[in-house]
């Protein structure tokens, strides 16, 4: 998914200056034109984004269809209140006699908190590793040396391969008789051992997504003028100081945007573990992420699945919100600081 759906707010003139009536009129006409031009995309977004979101939320308050004991046929479940949410968040299930019990293992409800912790674990580890490695790659790509174009192309190859293909490649590498065990001279059951399966997913994800981080950080590196480093050198800064005092503050905006994108992406991770380990490992759910759980639940009941996807949406939204708040203030402060420095 890309960020191509961003709708920039129409810019308004900020400076007050006496203008002639003709220009003002033209401006108003322009503003109206802008609205006309934007309307189609807003309508489109409302249909393809607004409708599914609202529909999912409405469905999440409906009960899943149950059986009519007399006919053996399904009947509509009716209004559920917060029952579907309680099922996931509080692990409440109904037993045969209609009493509320704690969801037994093997019921998807019992896996919710496990899936949350697996998802956050993947997010934390992969983003940290990918940021560190990506920065290192970016520094390499930023240097001038013979064969730089080749290195840049080589680093970008994993990012160009579709995730499903990547997952299948690593599936073969991590099979019992696969390359990983042959090279390491081990006999690890990569897709069924609890921690091995998690690391398999982390390794594959790192391999695939580090180039993305490297690319975004490289973009940040390339706008740093050489003079800043020269000035730092003249002032007697060591290379360690140059990194912490010059490079890092200057690439911070690019870095934080890259990390935000990766965090949101990692929280939604589905395809890689779904294909590589089928969400298995350990007692069977060591790599089941929230998105995998949603898809599993769709087969058992749409309404409950809608509740789960709404919960997932809210979790990711909260994380994004916290992030953007911190990121936003950071971005502003850096710009202000830069402007002050420039004056």
């Amino acid at each position: 998914m890309s960020a191509s759906n961003v709708v920039a707010p129409p810019t308004t003139p900020t400076r007050k200056r006496p203008v002639r009536a003709g220009i003002r009129k033209a401006r108003r006409g322009q503003a109206r034109w802008a609205i006309y031009l934007i309307v189609p995309s807003i309508v489109l977004l409302a249909v393809v984004i607004g409708y599914p979101v609202v529909s999912a939320i409405i469905m999440s308050f409906q009960k899943d269809a149950g059986l009519d004991p007399a006919t053996g046929l399904f009947v509509q479940g009716g209004f559920a209140g917060f029952e579907n949410y309680a099922h996931w968040l509080l692990q409440q299930c109904m037993n045969a006699s209609g009493q509320t019990i704690s969801c037994p293992p093997g019921n998807l409800g019992s896996q919710f908190w496990n899936a949350v912790s697996v998802t956050f674990f993947f997010t934390a580890v992969t983003v940290v590793v990918e940021t560190a490695l990506g920065m290192w790659f970016a520094f390499i790509m930023n240097r001038t040396f013979r064969g730089r174009a080749l290195v840049r192309a080589a680093i970008l190859v994993p990012w160009a391969i579709p995730t499903a293909v990547t997952a299948k490649l690593w599936f073969f590498i991590f099979s019992v008789a696969g390359v990983a065990n042959a090279v390491l001279n081990t006999h690890i059951l990569w897709v069924s051992d609890e921690w091995a399966s998690r690391f398999a997913v982390i390794i594959a994800d790192t391999w695939k997504t580090t180039p993305f981080m490297a690319l975004l950080i490289l973009a940040g590196l390339q706008v740093i003028p050489e003079e800043v480093y020269e000035a730092a050198k003249v002032d007697g800064a060591t290379s360690w100081q140059r990194f912490w005092q010059v490079t890092l503050p200057l690439i911070r905006p690019a870095l934080l945007v890259a990390v935000l994108f990766r965090v949101l992406d990692a929280l939604r991770i589905y395809d890689l573990p779904a294909i590589l380990t089928h969400g298995g490992g350990g007692t069977g759910n060591a790599t089941t992420t929230l998105s995998i759980l949603v898809v599993d639940q769709i087969r058992q009941g749409f309404n409950s699945a809608s509740a789960l996807s709404t919960i997932t949406f809210i979790i990711i939204f909260i994380v994004a919100f916290i992030f953007v708040r911190i990121l936003g203030t950071n971005v502003v402060r850096t710009q202000e600081a830069q402007q002050k420095g420039a004056k």
């Binding site: 529909s55 053996g72 293992p105 019921n107 019992v176 069924s192 298995g280 007692t283 949603v294 990711i316």
Partner: protein, 426 residues
């Protein structure tokens, strides 16, 4: 502040897309009203829906039908080759009450769900099928709540592949097979494997172990949970013990059909439980090291043949079809001896007509046919339940934990029963 606002909007847009991808179709369920009683005698063009026709049998059949029925032509709608996608495609069209999905090919494990949703025409009254010539277990796989909803079209059963150079006479019981494992040990290879990765194949293998021991997972009605009893426990215990003793090699926990086949063809296994498709591959694959040294036998049981899980597909008529009389005639055509023979000779698809298994010329062409007959005759369908996805999940999660030794058999079976119960309680 502008940058921050743009980021917020970007974030919201991305999240919106994420959620948009997560919502399924609309709400489902409800009875189909009068649809099951409409258009019963109407004839006209119909559509037949099936997953990818890998063995190229459907088109020639339809050509033949169309030549004989110019006014009731059948159009073939081919789905993808992924079972999950076929299932979801059918669900979407049924929800939309699509009259153009007249005859649909359903996997045996979907029958209960589709029947309970009221999407399948009950095969009663004028649509009653003649099941007298069919293998009985295949009819059970199309029957939900005492009513037949789907007509068996092709079948499938598990067989025991064994190395006849190491084991001249194949074991007929599980205990005898476990004794033969000493031979594997001496030869330095693994003894037995089936499908034990956590996916549908595990349910198939666990159901076989349980059914072979006389246990069941759910009762005939598809709802009553019966798995928490001594017989079912004894069945699951066999698999658990075999894993513990190493008679099933540890890596078999990662095996689906293909990994097991590769290990067997590489000469690394003495016994393998798999489907009939392996036979031709093991005979002809360039990499197969057991071309002339393997044989097939019925699955080992308690005293005689074990109870295989039943695979295969059933043909069903949509309640929304506008030409049900034609649809019914076409379903009968699919079950006719001529068609069934074409399926088995052309596509190696196991027939549902009992008589074909004794056909001498067919046995010559497919030497495993008599073994397959034993397998299918003793086969038990997986639970025909509207809650099958929840049942298979409950079986997989808990059986997987048990064979890995993370859970006792007692606890696994208890959790299995509780999880199946919560599913059907809604």
């Amino acid at each position: 502040m502008k940058a921050a606002r743009v980021s917020v909007i970007a974030g919201a847009a991305i999240l919106g897309l994420a959620l948009a991808g997560c919502t399924g179709g609309g709400s489902s369920g409800g009875s189909s009203g009068g649809a099951a009683g409409a258009n019963l005698t109407d004839k006209g063009p119909i559509t037949y829906v099936q997953g990818k026709d890998n063995s190229s049998v459907v088109r020639p059949l339809i050509d033949k039908w169309n030549a004989a029925h110019p006014n009731e032509k059948v159009t073939f709608k081919e789905q993808s080759d992924q079972a999950d996608q076929q299932h979801d495609d059918l669900v979407q069209h049924f929800q939309a009450k699509d009259p153009n999905y007249d005859v649909v090919d359903v996997d045996v494990v979907w029958t209960g769900e589709f029947a309970a949703k009221g999407w399948l025409q009950p095969l009663t009254g004028s649509f009653k099928m003649d099941n007298s010539k069919l293998v009985a277990s295949t009819v059970d796989s199309g029957t939900y709540n005492g009513t037949q909803y789907a007509a068996p079209q092709t079948s499938d059963g598990g067989m025991l592949y064994y190395r006849k150079d190491l084991v001249p006479t194949p074991p007929t019981t599980w205990d005898a097979m476990m004794k033969d494992c000493d031979i594997a040990k001496q030869a330095g290879i693994g003894c037995y494997a089936g499908q034990f990765a956590k996916y549908e194949g595990l349910t198939v293998n666990v159901a076989e172990a349980i059914n072979t021991n006389g246990g069941t997972i759910v009762g005939k009605d598809g709802k009553t949970v019966t798995v928490d009893n001594a017989k079912a426990k004894a069945g699951l215990t066999r698999l658990v013990d075999a894993f513990k003793s190493g008679n099933i090699p540890a890596e078999a926990i990662t095996y689906q059909e293909e990994q097991g086949r590769q290990a067997f063809e590489a000469g690394k296994l003495l016994f393998l439980r798999n489907w009939p498709y392996v036979y031709n591959l093991a005979k002809t694959d360039g990499s197969s090291m057991v071309k002339d040294t393997f044989g097939v036998a019925p699955l080992p049981g308690m005293t005689g043949p074990g109870a295989s899980s039943l695979g295969g597909h059933n043909a069903a008529i949509s309640v929304y079809s506008k030409h049900k009389a034609t649809a019914f005639a076409f379903v009968q055509f699919l079950q006719s001896e001529e068609t069934q023979k074409f399926f088995v000779t052309q596509g190696s698809l196991a027939p549902v007509l009992a008589s074909l298994y004794d056909d001498a010329s067919l046995n010559q062409q497919l030497p495993y046919l008599s073994t397959l007959k034993t397998s299918i005759e003793n086969a038990v369908p997986r639970p025909v339940s509207p809650f099958y996805p929840a049942i298979t999940k409950a079986v997989q999660d808990n059986a997987y934990a048990a064979v890995k030794g993370d859970k006792t058999v007692d606890q696994a079976v208890k959790d299995m029963a509780a999880a199946i119960q919560t599913a059907s309680a809604g």
